[in-house]
Symmetry: C2
Subunit: 232 residues, 2 copies
Amino acid sequence: MTEAMTPSDAKTWTSETVAGDLERAIHEHRLPPGTKLGEDELGEAYGISRTLVRAALQALSYRRLVELKRNRGAFVAQPTVAEAREVFEARALLEPRTAHSAAVRMTDAALDELRAHITAEHDALREGDTGRALFLSGQFHILIAQVADQRTIEAFVSELISRSSLIIALYWRRRAAMCESQAHHALIDAFEARDGVLAEELMKNHLLDLMASLDLRNLVPRPQSLREALGR
Amino acid sequence: MTEAMTPSDAKTWTSETVAGDLERAIHEHRLPPGTKLGEDELGEAYGISRTLVRAALQALSYRRLVELKRNRGAFVAQPTVAEAREVFEARALLEPRTAHSAAVRMTDAALDELRAHITAEHDALREGDTGRALFLSGQFHILIAQVADQRTIEAFVSELISRSSLIIALYWRRRAAMCESQAHHALIDAFEARDGVLAEELMKNHLLDLMASLDLRNLVPRPQSLREALGR
DNA sequence: GTGAACTAAGTTGTATACGATATTGCGCTC
DNA sequence: GAGCGCAATATCGTATACAACTTAGTTCAC
């Protein structure tokens, strides 16, 4: 399921690191929406007791990455179309202005880091690791909030990015072109020029493009797992 | 500490209801910033084991209302000046546009509810219950996000409102005039007229006024509890 | 008398045990 | 053979037990 399954690594896991590991697995689509996350199973996988597993699952449920159903267990969340719209609505409010702030405060070191992200994303795609590419693409957005020096907004954006990855897993229309890094390249240019207004506009359009590449018509919500589809 | 202390009520508490009860107590300033929240103490107060208490404290720590210090325990959070600025920065991005949406979608029933909130706030103030007044004042903002039909943004705003109450506890300048409901009255008028542009502008100014009524100079961060002041 | 070190008490961190609930499969009835 | 009901199994919910850490208090050395 995750690399934690290999019994060889002797890492000592905490609820936080387990939550992070699971979040990354979800973000990279190694754990697709609807996957059952059994407590015993996870505990054995990580070599910890259910106590810590439950803490990690709770943390993920607060970020809406995992849905906790009483007496039924934890499942990787399956955002509805309405929820998908809400997530991008929130991103539209937060990210453009944050990109503006980031452009103003941009440092050369941060620019290098952003460029490194794009390079790594390209490499991952060339290796066919679309999951890792998607993850890196998300980190790009989070890094922008970090540069803007807004940790509260960063936390919100981080959650929204992860949820976006679930939305992409469910509603992505054209599989071919991943998160087109064209937009990220253009953003970097704006950052390099410290052009806040341009960065804000580019981010706004980037998010609109992303949303446009999704199929958010209310046709078939994708039955997925028979019973889950009926919400029971 | 909270009404849960009275042993008479036979309510069965869950981690969620305990978290909600604690959050309200924090919001109403019955649990001031820096208060130690001992697990055994809380467990006895609510008549539950530490397991559920820990779950509730974790939930509150994800909302940044409680700070968890490893092997030290849980404390009501004490936002720094920088954090206070971040919270209001985030609110400035989220709430005005959300007020705009709310104005467009406003219903008569929601208008009545908003008015009821203001009335209840006045009553609380007249009774000298400033804590309850502050809580209701916050609920007013959350209700707006509900009307806007944005549950994701509502969750963010809800967190920011609660954190704002901590900020007010620490940095409020003029004790007399609580969250001046003048602004809320004006917002209701804009909502009644379904004037989105006006509501957005009023909300923006309301937040600026609120921030202006705080003392966010970096003078003395308020030592509070001697050792806590040194971050140890 | 000051300081360090050790000891003891208290609190949190984690695992485990037990009870409650949901689900599955079997067998019975019709 | 179809449908219902009951039992068995599996999983989650909560409490409790024990280990680890922090902290406070005391003693001893200097």
